[in-house]
């Protein structure tokens, strides 16, 4: 290697997208998540258009009001996530901890309400399996697509809550600073993505 010439040259690598690696990695990962949810949502759209008789009218079987409130809760958790990130950008560690805790609580509440909703629906005979489906509206494709889409979303929220708890513990230990809070930003991206997916799901599953 030609040390004499290279010695004085700027050593910074070729610029990427102007973001740090973990953030870029999360963006790339979320793209693959988009494709995953596309496969589930796409299947739902195809089945619903092919068999409209399997799907009940909005509000007939699903409790739209309860889920609307739950949706509002999840949107609020996105706001609190933004507040957490804004706090650590100012170096406000206490604010970070407070807003992270709020986000975790709202995320947990969302999943809990969803679990409650599942139990209620199961009691009415609204189940995914062909053989067990006895609900008075719609057919088995309705139950199957409903549980698959909302279930995988719920799993994503649950994983997000676990990741947030991990970030929260690190925040309690004071491991984030004004200069270094990559973890908060990366989990924030994931959280907003999960929120966005829910807004789409709520629209197409509950409202339309």
């Amino acid at each position: 290697m030609s040390d004499a010439v290279t010695a004085s040259i700027d050593r910074t690598p070729e610029p990427g997208m102007g973001v740090f690696n973990k953030k870029l990695g999360m963006w790339v990962f979320l793209l693959s998540e988009v494709m995953f949810f596309t496969s589930l949502i796409g299947s739902y759209i195809i089945l619903r258009y092919a068999h409209p008789d399997h799907f009940a009218a909005p509000g007939e079987l699903l409790n739209v009001n309860l889920t609307a409130a739950n949706t509002f809760l999840l949107i609020c958790s996105s706001v609190s996530m933004v507040k957490a990130f804004a706090a650590i950008q100012q170096g406000d560690l206490k604010g970070l901890q407070r807003w992270l805790l709020a986000t975790i609580l709202m995320g947990t509440a969302f999943v809990s309400v969803q679990a409650y909703e599942y139990i209620m629906l199961a009691h009415e005979g609204f189940l995914p399996a062909l053989a067990d489906y006895t609900a008075h509206a719609g057919g088995p494709l309705y139950g199957a697509t409903f549980y698959v889409m909302t279930g995988f979303h719920g799993a994503h929220v649950s994983l997000g809550v676990l990741a947030l708890i991990f970030v929260y513990i690190r925040a309690l230990r004071g491991e984030y600073t004004v200069a270094d809070h990559e973890g908060v930003e990366v989990i924030g991206l994931y959280w907003h993505f999960v929120d966005l997916v829910w807004i789409i799901l709520f629209t197409i599953v509950y409202l339309i």
């Binding site: 290697m1 030609s2 040390d3 004499a4 010439v5 290279t6 004085s8 040259i9 700027d10 050593r11 910074t12 690598p13 070729e14 990427g16 997208m17 690696n21 973990k22 870029l24 990695g25 790339v28 990962f29 793209l31 693959s32 998540e33 494709m35 995953f36 949810f37 596309t38 496969s39 589930l40 796409g42 299947s43 195809i46 089945l47 092919a50 068999h51 399997h54 995914p128 399996a129 062909l130 053989a131 067990d132 057919g139 088995p140 494709l141 199957a144 697509t145 698959v148 995988f152």
Partner: protein
């Protein structure tokens, strides 16, 4: 391995004594992960080859007991008295394709060379996320173990074809395979995480970790093709995962996504599968195109003809790969107008493919060609890929496909692309980069012998299959002799089987060469091929952290036989002499 680590400064000092487990088993070093992928996927390749040999035994010698008393090893549920049962034949066909596509070719392409070449060729010290990279490897043996286990459960391994078309795959009552099909689904769902985490790493690394001066159009074509392949993996695999999950739910808890008895849509499975499946086809061929470009340029001592058009062609193929999936379904009941548009987009792919072929020939043209093993494999790739590409155009046109669909013509076509194309490309890659991986050259005589016999036996095995297909012999058929009109083809089938046995056996030569050269091969030195890429600017094998200092890139990767230079190569990181003292800035401002 890292005996001459003396040059490892800031990068490697904290990696010195990692112990056996961290060095060889749970390594985060991209080169070790590449070697782990290499060994496991070559084992799966061997397994897939053995399954192929058993398929060919049944077709070449139908109803005769397996040779070498193999029947004594196999249980009566597979081959009583050594005679392969039809149900076991279904499993053989399914598992041969599954192992070859998902456990051999994909990891050989992306797992081995993605890991080995990307950081080295762009001048990075490792991947962006080394621990995620390690995870990506370790998922593979887990998924492989699940897949292997399915041979030993009641009902045997999955038998619905590697495409697992619904409703054949939705319930065991059609195939007699219950648990095997479920394990097949679970294994591929698990394996998907390996692809996604790997792809995530490759994309991030190429975007964010290129050395100073390594502008986009100085990136070597192998890395370009692996980068584009990573995008395909990243976007296509989740689609498959989604589909597999729905099919798994149909199988296990009794949903009806693909089951007609519950108003599900079996055809939807085909759409989901091929929407993944066609990008997958390019996942399996694009990296090989990249390796071949490197090898041909290096071994003809000429710049790649039309470097920019090569890059554009890779991107074009990858893009077009997303809008052609319907050509797998011409015979599944499709609006002819829709079929015509799929036919048109498919035929358009011939354009970038032809650009690449033209450029490879242009690169060879009047070159100072060195006929060593990597080049022989690379040129074979070009020749066989052209044959596979041309038979692809036959199949792409819907009217012709009506006759050829699901015959041996498609078997011939896909093996020309995936064995003649991908596998010969992989052999070109392994023989070319072997010295970088292990620090020693492979044996040339053994290498040439392996290439020569493989090339001849390969063509003798697969070319006659075109004829079988045109004569009407069905794909995946257990015993063609049950039809009178196929009985006259038995001699061809026997000939094909014998050729396949030669092709499979001669791979032993490669295995011997591979392991023998690791210990006894000629020492390679840093740059045995007089190559320009950054991977040749570090020791063979490179130490942890790769480069003693971050290399500075001054030019493109294919400056061979540059006029007025004494050496016929010009490494990317060699500082330009004329600018010594005059300009210390890297010239990536005018960097194309």
């Amino acid at each position: 391995m890292s005996s001459d680590i003396s040059m490892g400064d800031s990068h490697s000092e904290d990696h010195h004594d990692l112990g056996f487990i961290r060095t060889y088993i749970f390594s985060t070093d991209h080169k070790m992960i590449a070697k782990q992928f290499l060994v496991t996927s070559l084992l799966f390749l061997a397994l897939g080859g053995m399954l192929a040999a058993m398929i060919r035994w049944q077709l070449g010698f139908p109803g005769q007991p397996l040779p070498f008393n193999l029947g004594a090893i196999l249980p009566d549920t597979m081959a009583p008295g050594g005679i392969i049962l039809p149900e076991f034949y279904n499993s053989l066909v399914t598992m041969h394709a599954t192992f070859m596509v998902f456990f051999a070719l994909m990891p050989l392409m992306a797992g081995v060379f993605g890991n080995l070449l990307i950081p080295l060729q762009i001048g990075a010290d490792d991947m962006a996320f080394p621990r995620i990279n390690m995870l990506s490897f370790w998922i593979t043996p887990v998924a492989g173990a699940i897949m292997l286990a399915s041979f030993f459960v009641e009902g045997g391994a999955a038998g619905a074809g590697w495409t697992s078309y619904a409703p054949l795959s939705t319930s065991g009552e059609w195939t007699g395979v219950y648990l095997g099909q479920i394990l097949w689904l679970v294994s591929l769902i698990v394996l998907g995480f390996s692809s996604i985490t790997g792809a995530l790493n490759y994309v991030t690394t190429v975007i964010a970790m290129r050395a100073p001066g390594m502008t986009w159009f100085r990136v070597p074509l192998a890395t370009w093709s692996l980068f584009i392949t990573a995008w395909l993996l990243l976007l296509a695999i989740p689609i498959l995962t989604g589909g597999l999950i729905l099919l798994l739910l149909d199988q296990t808890i009794g949903t009806a996504f693909f089951r007609p008895e519950g108003s599900g849509e079996p055809l939807m499975w085909q759409h989901i599968f091929w929407f993944f499946g066609h990008p997958e086809v390019y996942i399996l061929i694009l990296p090989a195109m990249g390796f071949v470009s490197e090898v041909i340029a290096n071994r003809s001592r000429k710049p790649v003809f039309g470097y920019h058009s090569m890059v554009v062609a890779i991107v074009a193929i990858a893009f077009l790969g997303w809008i052609v999936w319907g050509h797998h379904m011409f015979q599944s009941g499709m609006n002819p107008f829709l079929g015509m548009s799929f036919m048109a987009t498919t035929v358009v792919i011939a354009v970038p493919s032809a650009i690449k072929t033209f450029n490879w020939i242009g690169t060879l043209w009047k070159g100072d060609i060195h006929f060593d093993t990597p080049l022989l494999h690379a040129v074979s790739f070009v020749a066989l890929f052209v044959i596979g590409g041309l038979s692809g155009i036959f199949l792409a046109s819907a009217p012709v496909d009506i006759y050829l669909h699901d015959t041996y013509f498609i078997v011939a076509h896909l093996h020309y692309v995936l064995v003649g194309g991908s596998l010969f490309g992989i052999f070109a890659g392994i023989t070319f980069w072997y010295p970088k991986m292990f620090g020693r050259m492979m044996n040339e005589t053994l290498g040439k012998l392996h290439w020569g016999v493989s090339f001849i036996a390969y063509n003798l095995a697969f070319f006659p299959m075109h004829n079988l297909g045109v004569q009407g012999m069905m794909r995946r058929i257990y015993d063609p002799n049950q039809y009178e009109f196929l009985q006259s083809l038995q001699s061809t089938n026997t000939f094909i089987s014998k050729s396949v046995f030669v092709f499979v056996s001669v791979q032993v030569l490669f295995a011997i060469n591979f392991f023998w050269s690791m210990r006894k091969g000629k020492k390679a030195g840093d740059n045995p091929w007089d190559s320009n890429g950054l991977e040749w600017a570090c020791p063979s094998p490179p130490p942890h952290g790769n480069f003693a200092e971050i290399p500075i890139v001054h030019r493109g990767p294919y400056e061979y036989s540059y006029p007025g230079r004494e050496q016929d190569f010009w490494p990317q990181n060699e500082a330009p002499v004329e600018s010594f003292g005059a300009s210390t800035k890297p010239e990536h401002e005018h960097g194309e």
